[in-house]
């Protein structure tokens, strides 16, 4: 399953980022950060398409030796980036797609929370705010056997 999940604001700074091998977190920061180039490129290429017809799922952004980076962008230009172990060949595009959709729904829940200030980091230490989101991300990170 996913090794890193990131939510990136419209202005391209992280709202949430979590990775399972916590010891090398910065590596994933760099990975997600550089993937934004591709996201930007894809978004600008999509720009002409009508909003309602737009596909939110961006697909594979780029592969690295060990990981695959997938992207998803909401209509409000909030980006979701997911890093998946490339050895996990069982994971198909459809599953990635559904994972993103789940992520999107959870994010929508966070946004609906009146105590959440759009643009703030989603922090799991606030029970009512980030906890549910965090739990959902955790569930996506647990490898399904």
């Amino acid at each position: 399953m996913a090794v890193c999940v990131a939510v990136i604001a419209k202005e391209n700074y992280p709202l949430y980022i979590r990775s399972t091998p916590t010891e090398n977190e910065l590596k994933f920061h760099y990975m997600v950060h550089t993937s934004l180039d591709v996201v930007d490129e894809k978004i600008s290429a999509m720009g002409k398409a009508l909003v309602d017809q737009r596909e939110l799922y961006l697909g594979l952004l780029y592969p690295t030796e060990d990981y695959k980076v997938y992207g998803y962008v909401t209509n409000s230009k909030v980006k979701f980036v997911m890093v998946v172990d490339s050895s996990n060949t069982a994971l198909r595009d459809n599953e990635i797609r559904s994972m993103f959709r789940k992520l999107h729904n959870s994010y929508t829940d966070v946004m609906c929370n009146p105590f959440y200030n759009p643009g703030d980091r989603i922090q799991s230490r606030f029970v009512c705010l980030g906890r549910a989101f965090d739990n959902m991300v955790t569930s996506m990170m647990i490898p399904v056997c």
């Binding site: 604001a9 202005e11 391209n12 700074y13 992280p14 980022i17 977190e25 910065l26 920061h29 760099y30 950060h33 550089t34 934004l36 180039d37 591709v38 490129e41 894809k42 290429a45 780029y62 592969p63 030796e65 643009g119």
Partner: protein
């Protein structure tokens, strides 16, 4: 081939490679000067054709790359230019030898070579050689360019011949197989001629043909025949595809791509020099017609191709209208080529370069996504073990390429990797400087600017984790570079901008290292200029501490300057001629929003209050915190503070002294935190609250300090007083006591004190205050002025407390309610007694009121009787009071004594009760000292120092009752006062002309004072004049006060407490009601009765002889403002039997000479009238004459008290013989 050329681009395929190298010792500067000139000749239009030759110069080229020259001819070194210094002829052979050695290196591929010799002159230089050029020095070599052109032309000739040779090679059956270096060993021993298998042979032949075709294509491209090359490439592709010669197929495809790119993008893909681009655009015009003469030439001559013998099928190719690939095809073909290359491990460099070339093409096509895929591929191409330098180069170029396709983050990533590579542990001499430089270049990629101003607006929006990492690296690199100032700046920036993202531990670590750095090199506010042209702006620590609120404080009340009224008015008038104008009001509003409406004074300490808090998890030491100001010379007095960890809002007061006058603006503050100096400007602080930062500084004023003889008081006056009191003093006084307050005025400022004005304000109190509470004489003090700095003057104030001496108002009310004395009649007239029915009418008369009343109307019936004769009183009172009252009173004669005896014990009880309720009364006053001097005075400013005075007034004596008794004379009366000593000490009371009355503590005694009646009308009515518009009530009040004062001064009642040696006045002012006043007042009609020419107003009886007529004169002086009269008077004589019986039946004993009735004419104001009569006493005896008015209308209009005639007592005696 192992060294990739990362700078390669597609159009390089059409270039001829020329290596320019120095031989011997040539200074780098000289070499590159010539090299540059050589490079300027990068393209040549070949004469008598429109073809263009492109030259690629290299000053360094690995010979092993040259071995791939057959594979792609642009890799082949075809020309060599050698530059050398040679100063003497004897060196020449050696030099020439070196040139030959150099030629040997690339010998196999060279078409031609040149040697440029500098410095050699003479015989050798004279000889004309094509391959050697002599120049006297590096300056004098104008012919270099021409030489190069010639050289290139010679290269072209060789190239053209080779091309034609290959293209028209008709040997057919024997085409050599072109190989790449690593293939050579594969084909060793392969006997192509004696191959057993025909298929293999044919296969081999095709391979040879295909490779040769490709080679010819390359040559055509180099020779400027684009279309030809396309044709050849196409044919080659088909040939090689059929034999699965993938490496060469890739090369052919790439050649096809290159030619197409050159065709489509004449501007070039490498982004090289502008000259080339210009040339390119010239070419593009040509390319537009798509019929380049050179190409056409070939196409028209198909025989040249068909007869080539390489492939008979070429004729099919000629028919194609477009051999050129479309832009989309180019990429496809590149992809294909790269996929073929990737099959060969040894062709890694070729593959890498192809990727780079494709990326550049895609960058021009703005197809970033595909370009990124090519780049991604390039990243994974594993070459042999690269040297560190190559790695750096590789990462840098990747970064550049990513930048080219707009992937700034990726670019920054690789640049950072390159930077890290510069200082890899395996490198013996880490290039920290290069690392730092590369790191700086990554900043835009991480959207990080090093200007803290970009971060001050709102919250930080950026990828904090990676930015922080980068900043840490910058800090480290700059430190290793040996530039501590730079690392301090970066670290400060990290701390300032990333504070929200640092964990507590990180905060500690960062500050720790910052302190370490600053111990060697303190952080400054100077911008740091970097060699690359970048300037690092200073980083003020606006978050250490965070300032939330800035407030300029007014001076303390005692030091606040005030504008003199008159001058203020002038100022107002100069501003605008209008009293009100909406426009001006608007402007003022704006002004006010910036400028604070108080002033600071030059030379006086001013304060600014900041509310700060410490966001750090440890104690924050802020040193040297002071104000930054402009407009006025300002001496800031810095403060040091220590804020506890994560403190809440903490007030900090920064002080300073303005040295000049004008308008001062507080722009910000400066601090030193962790050894970093910061100037924090308020404008740059987000979310700061300030109520204006501009204030006016007025010229210096003196400072006055007050010390008094009285102790300071803990009492503070009511806040409602409005003034802010700097000092409070308090004193305890007995009511009526006076005390002197000595005030020492000291000038503690720097300016002379020139003016002083003292005013006082008694704070509103419900107590009625009589007389002057505070009085002073300023003249003596002012005589000591101007007061120089440090000098002291004294000033004396008299405090006199004179509160109401009546114990309570309601008591007096009771007295007046009584009504007994309302009529105010002299009770000698028994007729008048019936006028007061109210006493009887009252159902329950409070005992005290009746008691009070019973003295007020008492009059001794006989003027001869002294006042202290109670018996006579008793007789008189009884009939006046109801039986009940009388009973309750008990016997008045027993309980009441007049003077010197106790008033009723009941009274004393009541008094003590009342005293318990409100013993101490306080008086508060504010003394305002307005003073000025020095330059501030000339500007019209003054200061106001307020001294609060708190006086606790303890009761001394009380007058519990007051009443009057008519004296025997109509011009006099007795004032009866019950005096109560409310102190705990023995007290004496004295009046002006009476003996001393001793009162024990809590004792109440009655005293009687004989006073002359007052003629109030004669007073100048000054208060009345003043209050012309005051209502009559006030007027009356004022008149009453004036009367009270008059009475008070006449009485001069004083008390003394011998044990405490304190004394004071006792005033009756407060207790004189209308009734008593009327009694004390002299009636405006003054009646004088003269018996035998003697005024008869005494207790003494007038003596007269029996039988002799006695002259009786009644004289009226009118002092009232109106005319009175006429009056009719009847004299009624009677005899008092002293037992209550009056004998009026005296017809036989007294006879009148003339009429017993007198008539007085109307008397004008201030005139006199008299009437005369005579009496004849027939017997001896004591007679009284009662002069009675005839009641008529006129007399009724006037108050009855005006008709107060003295009674006449005549003693008729026998005539002595």
């Amino acid at each position: 081939m192992s060294v990739p050329d990362y700078m390669q681009c597609a159009e390089d395929h059409q270039t001829l490679l020329v290596v320019v190298q120095p031989v011997g010792i040539v200074s780098e500067e000289n070499f590159f000067r010539i090299y540059k000139r050589i490079c300027s000749v990068s393209q040549i239009s070949v004469r008598d054709s429109q073809r263009v030759l492109y030259i690629r110069y290299r000053h360094h080229y690995p010979p092993e790359n040259n071995e791939w020259g057959d594979f792609q001819t642009h890799r082949k070194v075809v020309g060599l230019i050698t530059i050398t210094d040679c100063f003497s002829a004897k060196d020449w052979p050696q030099t020439f030898e070196k040139f030959h050695v150099q030629k040997e290196i690339y010998g196999s591929t060279l078409y031609d070579s040149r040697l440029f010799v500098f410095g050699l002159q003479g015989e050798i230089a004279e000889q004309a050689r094509t391959d050697v050029a002599f120049y006297p020095n590096y300056e004098d070599c104008q012919m270099v360019e021409k030489r190069i052109e010639d050289f290139i032309e010679s290269l072209f000739i060789v190239l053209e011949s080779k091309r034609l040779d290959r293209a028209t090679d008709k040997s057919g059956d024997k085409i050599p197989l072109l190989c790449v270096p690593f293939e050579k060993k594969d084909f060793v021993g392969l006997d192509t001629d004696s191959s057993v298998l025909l298929g293999l042979k044919r296969h081999y032949k095709k391979r040879c043909q295909g490779r040769m075709r490709k080679h010819v294509g390359d040559l055509c491209l180099q020779a400027g025949m684009l279309q030809d090359s396309l044709v050849h490439y196409h044919m080659s592709v088909e040939l090689l595809r059929s034999v699965n010669d993938f490496l060469w197929l890739g090369a052919a495809l790439e050649g096809l791509c290159s030619a197409s790119v050159i065709y489509h993008y004449p501007g070039g893909t490498g982004g090289k020099s502008g000259a080339r681009r210009f040339q390119g655009s010239a070419l593009s015009a040509e390319a537009a017609n798509r019929h380049r003469p050179g190409a056409q030439e070939v196409l028209i001559d198909p025989g040249a191709l068909t007869t080539s013998g390489i492939n008979p099928d070429t004729s099919t190719e000629i028919g194609r209208a477009k051999n050129c690939l479309s832009p989309e095809d180019i990429i496809d073909k590149y992809k294909e080529a790269i996929s073929y290359y990737s099959k060969y491990k040894n062709a890694g460099v070729i593959e890498l370069e192809a990727c780079i070339k494709a990326v550049r093409v895609l960058a021009i096509q703005k197809r970033s996504m595909e370009a990124s895929e090519f780049l991604q591929n390039a990243v994974y191409i594993n070459l042999r073990q690269l040297s560190e330098e190559e790695k750096i180069q590789r990462y840098s170029i990747l970064s550049e390429l990513y930048e080219l396709i707009g992937f700034h983050r990726k670019s920054a990533f690789f640049k950072r990797v390159a930077a890290m590579q510069c200082v890899a542990p395996s490198i013996a001499e880490p290039g920290w400087r290069a690392c730092y430089k590369l790191l700086l270049e990554t900043l835009p990629g991480y959207s990080l600017s090093l200007d803290p101003k970009d971060f001050s607006r709102g919250t930080h929006r950026g990828w904090a984790a990676v930015q922080m990492r980068l900043l840490h690296e910058l800090v480290y690199a700059s430190r290793r570079m040996g530039n501590p100032a730079l690392s301090v700046r970066h670290l400060s920036f990290l701390l300032q901008t990333m504070l929200d993202f640092l964990s507590d531990q990180e905060k500690k670590d960062v500050t720790q290292s910052l302190e370490n750095y600053t111990s060697k090199c303190p952080g400054t506010m100077e911008p740091i200029a970097l060699p690359g042209g970048l300037t690092l702006p200073p980083v003020p620590f606006t978050k250490l501490p965070i300032v939330r609120h800035v407030k300029l404080l007014n001076l303390p009340a005692s030091l606040r300057p005030h504008k003199m009224k008159s001058l203020l008015g002038q100022n107002m008038s100069t501003k605008s001629p209008f009293i009100y104008s909406p426009i001006i009001a608007h402007n003022r509003g704006e002004e006010r929003s910036k400028k604070i409406d108080f002033q600071w004074v030059q030379g006086d300490v001013c304060e600014v209050q900041l509310m700060v808090y410490n966001p750090m998890p440890f104690e924050l030491r802020v040193e040297n915190m002071g104000l930054l100001t402009s407009g006025v010379e300002f001496e800031s007095l810095p403060a040091a503070l220590s804020l506890p960890a994560e403190s809440g809002l903490y007030p900090v007061t920064l002080v300073g002294v303005p040295q000049t006058t004008g308008t001062i603006t507080v722009n910000g503050y400066h601090t030193t935190v962790f050894g970093v100096f910061s100037d924090c400007l308020l404008d740059d602080l987000p979310g700061i609250k300030t109520s204006g930062s501009t204030v006016e500084v007025i010229p210096a004023l003196p400072r006055l300090q007050i010390s008094t003889s009285l102790p300071r008081s803990a009492h503070s006056l009511q806040p409602s007083s409005g003034d802010e009191i700097s000092t409070n003093v308090s004193v305890q006084l007995y009511n009526g006591e006076s005390q002197q307050l000595i005030i020492k005025l000291e000038n503690i400022g720097m300016e002379p004190l020139e003016k002083l004005e003292v005013t006082s304000k008694v704070l509103t109190t419900k107590e009625k205050l009589y007389g002057d509470f505070l009085s002073w004489k300023l003249e003596e003090t002012l005589a000591q002025f101007p007061l120089q700095p440090g000098k002291v003057a004294t000033f004396t104030i008299n405090i006199k407390v004179k509160l109401d001496f009546s114990c309570q108002e309601n008591l007096l009310q009771d007295l007046s309610d009584d009504g007994i004395s309302v009529s105010g009649f002299p009770l000698s007239s028994p007729f008048r007694q019936v006028v007061r029915p109210r006493v009887e009418g009252k159902p329950v008369n409070p005992p005290e009121s009746s008691k009070a009343g019973d003295c007020s109307h008492v009059k001794p019936p006989e003027s001869t009787r002294p006042l202290n004769m109670p018996s006579s009183l008793e007789i008189f009172i009884v009939p006046l009071l109801s039986a009940r009252d009388c009973h309750e009173e008990g016997c008045p004669g027993r309980t009441h004594s007049l003077v010197g005896e106790d008033a009723s014990t009941e009274d004393a009880h009541r008094m003590s009760y009342m005293l318990c309720q409100g013993t101490d009364k306080t008086l508060e006053a504010v003394l305002n000292f307005k003073y000025s001097g020095g330059p501030g005075h000339t500007e019209g400013y003054y200061r106001n120092l307020s001294l609060g005075l708190h006086v606790e007034v303890e009761p001394s004596v009380f007058f519990t009752r007051v009443s009057t008794l008519p004296a025997s004379s109509t011009r006099q009366c007795h004032l009866l006062l019950d005096v109560f000593n409310s102190t705990e000490h023995e007290l004496t009371v004295s009046t002006r002309n009476s003996e001393v009355l001793i009162l024990h503590a809590g004792e109440c005694q009655r005293m009687a004072i004989q006073v002359d009646k007052f003629n109030f009308e004669s007073f100048p009515e000054s208060p009345g004049e003043k209050g012309q518009f005051a209502n009559p009530k006030q007027l009356e009040e004022e008149r009453r006060e004036a009367r009270g004062l008059e009475i008070h001064s006449k009485l001069g009642i004083r008390w003394r407490i011998p044990s405490l040696k304190r004394s004071g006045e006792a005033s009756v002012e407060g207790l004189l009601n209308q009734l008593v006043l009327e009694h004390l007042q002299l009636a405006p009609l003054q009646w004088d009765v003269l018996v035998d020419g003697q005024p008869c107003d005494r207790e003494v009886a007038a003596a007269c002889q029996v039988g002799n007529p006695v002259r009786l004169e009644v004289r009226l002086t009118n002092r009232s403002p109106r005319s009175v009269g006429p009056f009719a008077l009847t004299v009624v004589p009677f005899q008092d039997h002293q037992n209550g019986v009056h004998n009026y039946d005296l017809h036989d004993t007294v006879s009148f000479v003339g009429s017993s009735t007198f008539y007085l004419d109307a008397v004008q104001p201030s005139s006199q009238s008299a009437c005369l009569g005579a009496l004849l006493f027939l017997y001896t005896g004591d007679f009284f004459l009662h002069i009675r008015f005839h009641e008529d209308s006129t007399s009724k209009e006037l108050p009855p008290s005006w008709f107060c005639l003295p009674s006449v007592h005549v003693r008729a005696v026998e005539v002595q013989a």
